[in-house]
């Protein structure tokens, strides 16, 4: 196994954290000019391996061969020096600095005086950005960029110092289809430069569109590594979850009831330009839009999280006060934001306390919380949603992403709701958990709630929605029934 194409070889690497064996003697081989997919459920050990290769973690056992020679990584700096560049899922940019500064953060071009050579810095950044066909002003503050643009800047950084291996940790999780397309072009260009690419992802369609080889991890071990032509979705999924998942999008609910939520000419000073639509009981409305179309803004505006300058909301015929979260929450609205940690969970609080946050009133008598009732109720939902937690008093911080998302869903399942808004409910969640969450969405509709799902993942959109609204530039630019909706139609409306 020592042909000279191999640039990176991982042998019998193990890594143990208190209580968990994150990696248990895994092997992995990456060749020059190869795009290798690394897939596996959350907790399979993908990110641990990446962090080891990035020099963030130290391996307990095993060895790393880089260009045939053993490699000891002591710091992030080491692996950068050797030409291993990791594009992490949570973006590693400094919002306060400019694009150029971020691209060359590791080492600015300097003048003889030791001062930063701004001209060169910006010129070279411009060149790199051009090479990945990205038109950005290098002096723009990163905080003013969209997520996808930031992702591109990350990759630009990878190119800024001749990377030999580029590792991408779910680069597309935040991107919209055509952004993904241009990202793939970039990745293919990297491939043509002879760079080895390790592409970590949850989206199997990407594997078959982009990659040459697919490697599957499960529970810290290597399950399979096959050339893409020699395998198929079902085989990979089975390898990942150890069982075959039947239907990804169960639909048992049927027939919509009374209109519940009416939105008329909703507008904010930033994004929304007057949005009108209505949602019925027992109906799942999917809202699609490219990044910056105003999906999230719409959700926040409806819920009162962002200030609204115009329009009106009606819930079951009653006018809703705008811009008051407490008011809309009490009126029976629920919101699952896309930013799980930043806007959803209270990390210092226990699983139970996070679940009951909106509904804890119901367990209170004379303003005092009856913890028995609270715990009983929480326990019920822990079981119903199969949330993996040692106890109710366990800090939610320590749960896996999927389980955290379930806790947030439980939060709204517990409460008597009229309308629930789910913003990117399955972002960064593995196949197994995804399926369970899609099942829950269906149950919510069954229970007669009006469900609004905002998503940028086409299969999910087409899978869960009874009706699809498409947004672009802060307006609704298209509406399709479940039957008539196709990927092409939706995209056409989204670009309009």
């Amino acid at each position: 196994m020592n042909d000279k194409d191999v640039i990176l070889e991982v042998r019998k690497i193990s890594k143990e954290f208190p209580g968990v064996k994150a990696l248990n003697g895994v092997d992995l081989t990456l060749r020059r000019g190869e795009i290798q997919a690394l897939v596996g459920e959350n907790g399979a050990g993908k990110s641990t391996l990446i962090k080891i290769l990035a020099g963030v973690y130290r391996k307990d056992a095993g060895e790393i061969l880089f260009e045939g020679t053993p490699l000891e990584l002591h710091s992030a700096h080491d692996s950068l020096q050797r030409g291993i560049k990791v594009v992490f899922q949570e973006l590693t940019l400094v919002p306060q600095l400019s694009v150029a500064e971020n691209v060359f953060l590791e080492s600015f071009p300097l003048k003889r005086s030791g001062a930063i050579d701004w001209r060169t810095l910006n010129r070279r950044t411009q060149e790199i950005l051009a090479s990945i066909s990205l038109d950005l002003n290098p002096t723009r503050k990163v905080s003013s960029l969209t997520i996808s643009q930031q992702q591109m800047v990350e990759i630009a950084r990878a190119l800024s110092h001749e990377a030999k291996v580029v590792i991408m940790d779910e680069p597309t999780s935040a991107l919209t289809p055509n952004e993904i397309r241009s990202l793939f072009e970039v990745i293919r260009r990297l491939k043509s430069l002879g760079i080895g690419i390790l592409h970590v992802t949850h989206k199997l369609e990407e594997v078959f569109e982009l990659c040459d080889r697919v490697t599957v991890f499960r529970d810290g071990q290597l399950v399979s590594s096959r050339p893409v032509p020699e395998t198929n979705t079902n085989a990979v999924v089975t390898d990942m979850v150890g069982r075959s998942i039947t239907t990804l999008f169960p639909r048992t609910h049927s027939g919509r009831g009374q209109p519940v939520l009416r939105v008329r000419g909703l507008a904010t000073d930033k994004k929304l330009k007057g949005v009108s639509f209505e949602v019925h009981a027992g109906e799942v409305v999917g809202i699609f839009g490219l990044l910056g179309a105003g999906r999230t803004e719409l959700a926040k505006a409806i819920f009162g999280l962002d200030p609204v300058i115009g329009g009106e909301l009606e819930l079951r015929g009653r006018r809703l006060r705008l811009g008051s979260t407490s008011h809309s929450a009490h009126a029976g609205l629920g919101l699952l934001t896309e930013d799980r940690k930043g806007e959803g969970l209270v990390l210092q609080m226990s699983v139970a306390q996070n679940m009951t946050l909106p509904s804890v009133r119901e367990f209170a008598r004379f303003g005092l919380i009856r913890s028995k009732a609270e715990n009983a109720r929480s326990q019920e939902y822990v079981q119903r949603l199969a949330i993996k937690t040692p106890s109710l008093r366990h800090k939610v911080e320590y749960l896996s992403g999927g389980n955290q998302q379930k806790v947030l869903l439980a939060r709204w399942l517990m409460k008597k709701l009229e309308v629930i808004i789910l913003d990117e409910p399955t972002r960064g969640i593995d196949v197994g958990a995804k399926a369970e969450i899609h099942k829950l969405i269906d149950e919510l509709a069954m229970a007669g709630l009006a469900v609004i799902v905002l998503t940028s993942e086409m299969p999910e959109l087409l899978g869960v929605s009874d009706r699809i609204l498409v947004m672009s530039g802060g307006r609704i630019t298209g509406e399709f029934g479940r039957e008539e909706a196709t990927q092409e139609k939706v995209l056409a409306a989204a670009i309009a």
Partner: protein, 324 residues
């Protein structure tokens, strides 16, 4: 498009220039009010005095700004002012040389900086707590070693006296000269050197910095040392003005400085702010003190007004930010 142009400038100079506009307005307003309410205010002599008076605060403010920008804070600078003056005056009285006194003073300052820095970066204790502890510790230390008896300058060195009281061309106080040099140097460092940009980086997002191979610990340590060194410089100036090392020196100084630079838009959260803002903040406080005293306003009214102005200024700033 225009926003793009603005972005270009703000990135080039790392200056959120509009950030200061609100405060600049406040500053100008104060200036006018005082000019019209006291004929002594707008005189070269008084203005040069004010310039000198704010120097002590501003020099320390430069150091503390560096710290705040990289996401830490130091509440012990006031107590340090009392500590650092001791070796200065002692050695000066012994050797009769000002410069021989400066060396141990700076050494002590650096040492304190190292201690603060190590406690924060190595033992991972919140800097607010570490330096609050040091705030008590150092003050108590001075009380103990001096027995609360000030040590006055017996070297009779004119140089020592001139440092804090002399003026260039009978107008520009040497203190102000030193302050301007320091401010300019560190403005340059913050804007145009890798070190400066990295301070912003680790203040903005430490984990990012680490991921790209920057070592936040080492940078923060250096910032702590710089902060203590600059506070020591301010301590030397104060000692010269008091022509003694004094156990009561610098009481409440840390809060003056923090208030001034936070007023100047340097964020306590780290990663945001610049020395121009800090300077404006310090100037606002300096002008209020000087102007009101020229107008014979009683201390109780001065306190009231200062407090009101702080709230006013910050509120205006916040309003502007949200409508920007």
């Amino acid at each position: 498009m225009s926003s793009n142009v603005l972005n270009r400038r703000s990135a080039r100079f790392s200056l959120s220039r509009f950030g200061e506009l609100g405060l600049l307005a406040v500053l100008v307003a104060l200036f006018l009010v005082f000019t019209f309410s006291s004929k002594y205010f707008f005189t070269p002599k008084n203005l040069s005095n004010v310039l000198g008076q704010i120097s002590i605060t501003m020099i320390a403010a430069v150091g503390l700004s560096l710290l705040l920008i990289c996401g830490e804070v130091d509440l012990s600078i006031g107590s340090l002012q009392a500590v650092a003056a001791l070796p200065l005056v002692l050695v000066m009285n012994a050797t009769g040389s000002f410069w021989l006194g400066v060396i141990p003073a700076l050494a002590v300052g650096a040492l304190i900086g190292v201690i603060n820095g190590l406690l924060v970066t190595r033992l991972k204790i919140n800097s607010l707590i570490v330096t609050l502890g040091m705030y008590y510790l150092l003050r108590g230390f001075v009380y103990l070693v001096t027995g609360k008896v000030p040590i006055s300058d017996r070297s009779g060195k004119d140089l020592f006296f001139m440092v804090g009281n002399g003026k260039l061309f009978r107008f520009l106080p040497y203190m102000a000269l030193l302050m301007i040099v320091i401010v300019v140097v560190f403005m340059y460092v913050l804007r145009h050197t890798t070190y400066g940009r990295r301070l912003y980086a680790i203040g903005g997002s430490p984990e990012v910095a680490r991921a790209v191979g920057i070592n936040p610990e080492r940078l923060k340590l250096s910032a702590f040392i710089l902060c203590s060194l600059l506070s020591t410089v301010s301590a030397i100036l104060l000692a010269s003005r008091l022509s003694s090392a004094n156990h009561m020196a610098g009481q409440g100084f840390e809060f003056q400085v923090v208030a001034a630079i936070v007023l100047g838009g340097v964020s306590l959260a780290g990663g945001v702010g610049n020395l121009l803002g800090a300077l404006i903040g310090v100037l606002i406080f300096g002008l209020i003190q000087n102007g009101l005293s020229l107008m014979n306003v009683g201390t109780q009214y001065q306190m009231l007004i200062t407090g009101a102005i702080i709230i006013l200024a910050v509120a205006v700033d916040e309003l502007k930010k949200r409508h920007a």
